[in-house]
Structures are given as structure tokens and as C-alpha cells.
């Protein structure tokens, strides 16, 4: 495999110039710059809110310095609470070129778009100079999430991803699974897989926190489509989702934006700490994908039964469909047909090997289906987190 070497030493599998708006009021201008740039390598993300939030700033900093990012254009209205100076400083400190445009100081919509297009041209030129180097599997970070799960997800797609994770981890990659609220009922078996008893305790606590949090919200992480697809309870959905983690030991428990310190399997705790403050922990699948990417995921394995079509900005999404009926219906959107498992036409290991091979191809530059189709969704939310405890990350083996 080959990657793009960044000034901070990290290696990316894509070479993207990112335009980010810092409040919804700057969205239109930022989007117009991206659209009018007519470059496939220019992508858009943003944050809607006007109020400042430490977590949102941290996530934005992580996204703008992701190894797939070659340069950043920040688009600010001017009066919003987002700390654009700190964001620009962090991006610059990572060795990436960064430009900031403030609409209120740039003469409004038209002139900011014009200025933005100029800046984008020079950022794209710089990106083209990125050094291409060899990249090994042990330098990859791969995330997994499930979306639109049904009764087939836990039989075909999720265990196939688990098999792929086992192979990636054997070869030194870091793999991240989540979401503690969707692992309610699996806490004890996960704790038993932790590399230390202290980490096991942290895992137990994180799932207990998720249960309390979702109880307070009044809803579990359970969508109507899950029920239509045959899933009845949160813990049933959890048991199916859990299969994505494979059979490796669990090496760490991270929160969004924490980057795995070495290869191994990591659980991501996306449920905010302290009393519930800003609403649901995972408002949509793309919020979870963004958090994976903020933690360094080069690509995300997305399993589905009902059939999600999303992709993501910044990092490719590979979709693995467990339900043969859905696969037939949405085959243009699906990268892997795991429906073969419940039809008895392939084993979990065979489909898992197929996922593994596709990970290597997509990491080498092949577009996933959602990339080809132009999906570049992104969501960044408000949250509040405490730092992870000392036993949450593995010490050097």
C-alpha cells in the first residue's frame, strides 16, 4: 500500500483539501466554494452551532489534522463562538497549510466565495506536492459502525467484520468499535476480554453510564427500522452489534478524538460524561462516523441490514450488507454482499476475507461505492467529556 506522508509524520490514504465552516451562517459560502472549485479532492465539513464547546473544537481540530487532509480553508461568519484562531493554530502546528476567511471582514457572500476559490486553488496545488510513501497495514486505523441494523446484521455482516478485524489486528492495525449504548447487555463479556482487570472495570462503568444516559433520554439507541427488521430489544441489537468486534483482546477504551496509541482493538465510548446536557449521544450514524474519523480512522466499515446509503467526508466508508433482500434492492450502494451468509452460499470467514481484501484496495486508493456516488456526509455535535483514565490505553507491549 501507499500513503500520503504529512509533515506531522502521519500517513493518509486520501489527499483532501478540507473547507470547514464554523457556524451554520457560513455554510452557504463554504458550500459554494467547494461546489465551484469543481475539484473532487475538495470536501466540506462544518459545525452548525454558534455557542462554543470544548468537545466540538477538539473534534474539529482532529478532523482538520486527520492524515487524509492536506490543507484546510476555514470559513467563519465572524461573530460565532467557535475559536477559529485556535483551530487555525492547531492546523498550522501540524504542518498543514491553513487559510481563514471571515465573511464579515471579506465583503460578504460573493467576495468571500471569490477569495475562497483563490485560496482553494493554492491549497490544491500544495496538496498535489504531497509526498507518496509506502504504508503498511500496521499503520492503518479502521473503524466500524452499524446502521439500519436488522435481524440479519448480527448473523452475516457483523461477524464478517469481526473476522476482518481479527486479521487486521494480527497484522498490527488499530481497530475501533463502538457504541457503548448499543452494547448494553454485552458489558460483562467485553470486560472479560479486556487486557487488564482495570480496563475491564472501565468498560463496565462506560456501559452503565450509557444505560443511565439513554434511560434519561427516554429512548435507547434503537430505531423503528430495527424493529421492522426483526430486532425486538436493545440487548438483542447489542449482541448482534458486538459481533463486529471479533475475538481479539480489547486493548483500550477511548473517547471521540482520542487516537489509539498502538495497534489492537479499541472500544469507543461516545456517551457524554456527567449529567445529560446536549441530548442524544449518537444523533445519526454520520455523527458516529465523524467521531471514528476524529480518532484517526482511515476508513470505516459500515454494516447494515435495512440498507443505509451514507458515506462520509474525509475517510472512505465501506458498506457491508447482511440482508440478501436489501442487497438486491440497493446493490449499487453496497460494497460487500454478506447476505450470502444467511443464504448459505458463503461462510462468515469467506465474507470476512472479502472485507479484508477490500480494505487493502480502498486504502490503496480504490473508491468505495459511497465515494463513487459522491456521499460526503458529516455531522459534528455538542458534547461534554472528561479525559479517559490511566488504565484506558495500553502501555507499550
Amino acid at each position: 500500500m501507499q500513503g500520503y506522508l504529512r509533515a506531522d509524520g502521519r500517513k493518509g490514504i486520501r489527499n483532501i483539501v478540507l473547507v470547514t465552516y464554523l457556524v451554520e451562517c457560513a455554510h452557504h459560502v463554504a458550500r459554494a466554494i467547494v461546489t465551484q472549485s469543481e475539484s473532487e479532492d475538495v470536501q466540506l465539513i462544518g459545525f452548525q452551532g454558534c455557542y462554543p464547546n470544548e468537545y466540538s473544537l477538539n473534534i474539529m481540530e482532529r478532523l482538520c489534522t486527520h492524515p487524509n487532509i492536506a490543507g484546510v480553508l476555514i470559513v467563519s461568519l465572524g461573530c460565532e463562538g467557535f475559536n477559529r484562531e485556535q483551530l487555525a493554530k492547531t492546523v498550522a502546528a501540524s504542518g498543514r497549510p491553513v487559510e481563514t476567511l471571515v465573511i464579515q471582514k471579506s465583503g460578504g457572500t460573493k467576495s468571500t466565495i471569490a477569495a475562497g476559490l483563490e485560496r482553494i486553488n493554492s491549497l490544491v496545488d500544495v496538496a498535489k506536492q504531497s509526498e507518496i510513501v509506502t504504508m503498511d497495514i500496521n499503520e492503518l486505523i479502521v473503524g466500524t459502525i452499524c446502521g439500519g441494523s436488522d435481524g440479519t446484521s448480527g448473523i452475516g455482516a457483523n461477524p464478517a467484520v469481526g473476522h476482518c478485524f481479527d486479521k487486521l489486528i494480527e497484522q498490527g492495525a488499530a481497530c475501533i468499535f463502538e457504541e457503548t449504548g448499543e452494547l448494553i447487555g454485552c458489558e460483562q463479556i467485553m470486560a472479560d476480554r479486556a487486557i487488564t482487570p482495570e480496563l475491564g472495570e472501565e468498560i463496565m462503568k462506560s456501559v452503565e453510564k450509557a444505560e443511565n444516559y439513554y434511560t434519561h433520554m427516554g429512548y435507547g439507541s434503537f430505531a423503528p427500522g430495527n424493529a421492522e427488521g426483526g430486532l425486538t430489544t436493545q440487548e438483542e441489537k447489542s449482541m448482534g452489534a458486538y459481533a463486529k468486534s471479533g475475538s481479539s483482546k480489547i486493548h483500550g477504551l477511548i473517547k471521540p478524538g482520542d487516537i489509539p496509541s498502538q495497534g489492537g482493538l479499541y472500544l469507543m465510548d461516545v456517551v457524554p460524561d456527567d449529567t445529560p446536557l446536549f441530548g442524544f449521544p449518537n444523533i445519526s450514524d454520520n455523527a458516529e462516523i465523524m467521531e471514528m474519523i476524529a480518532s484517526g480512522a482511515h476508513l470505516t466499515l459500515f454494516t447494515t441490514g435495512r440498507g443505509s446509503v451514507v458515506g462520509s467526508a474525509i475517510s472512505p466508508v465501506i458498506k457491508i450488507c447482511a440482508n440478501p433482500e436489501t442487497y438486491e434492492n440497493l446493490s449499487e450502494d453496497m460494497d460487500i454482499n454478506a447476505g450470502k451468509v444467511i443464504k448459505g452460499e458463503a461462510t462468515i470467514a469467506q465474507v470476512g476475507d472479502e472485507v479484508f481484501e477490500l480494505v487493502k484496495l480502498v486504502a490503496s486508493g480504490q473508491q468505495s461505492k459511497s465515494e463513487e456516488l459522491g456521499h460526503q456526509e458529516s455531522v459534528i455535535t455538542y458534547k461534554r467529556f472528561d479525559a479517559i483514565g490511566p488504565s484506558c490505553l495500553p502501555t507499550i507491549r
Binding site: G151, I155, I184, G185, Y219, G220, P224, A227, T233
Partner: protein
């Protein structure tokens, strides 16, 4: 033997999972007994492997996934109308389980 339209995920399970849609009135062989299915069953849905009394733990993947809220007959659909979470309520577009 088990009808190929259903799968047993773990030996301890007391439900089968549907792999291919079956319709009310279809005859299916569920291990030792053949029965006529009472309601349409979609892919991914569960039916009872044996009679389940009210309050019984429902076992799938070899793990408890909730409890029955009423007794469920052999081969009957097991879903939100007759089972619930032991942790947190599920919801559909119309209602949360356990609410009218």
C-alpha cells in the same frame, strides 16, 4: 431437522431466526415437529423454538436478549407484542413498547 428458511444461532437458544420469508399457513419443520406457521414471518424475525411461558428469558446467540411478556406458543412469532427488554424500552414510529 430444521427448515432451511430458519437458522438456530446457538444450541442454547430458544428462538429460531428467519432467513427467508415464510407466509401464514406454510408448513415448516422445526427440529422434531412440523407445524403450520400462524402469521407471516419476515427475514431477520424470530419464532419460538419451544413453548415459552410468560416471564421467560429469550435466548439468542446463546445470550439473554429480553423476556416474554406473555406465553408464546411453539413456532410463534417472538417480537415486541410478546417480549420486552430487560434494560431499556424499544420504540417504533408509533409508540414505545409497553405503552398503549
Amino acid at each position: 431437522m430444521l427448515d432451511k428458511r430458519f437458522v438456530l444461532l446457538s444450541n442454547e437458544d430458544n428462538v429460531f431466526v428467519c432467513c427467508e420469508q415464510v407466509f401464514a399457513g406454510d408448513e415448516v419443520c422445526l427440529e422434531e415437529h412440523s407445524i403450520f406457521i400462524k402469521t407471516d414471518i419476515d427475514v431477520g424475525h424470530k419464532i419460538a423454538r419451544n413453548e415459552l411461558p410468560q416471564g421467560e428469558k429469550v435466548i439468542k446467540y446463546g445470550a439473554p436478549i429480553g423476556s416474554t411478556t406473555q406465553s408464546v406458543g411453539f413456532g410463534e412469532h417472538v417480537h415486541m407484542h410478546n417480549m420486552k427488554s430487560d434494560y431499556i424500552a424499544s420504540h417504533t414510529r408509533q409508540r414505545r413498547s409497553g405503552e398503549e
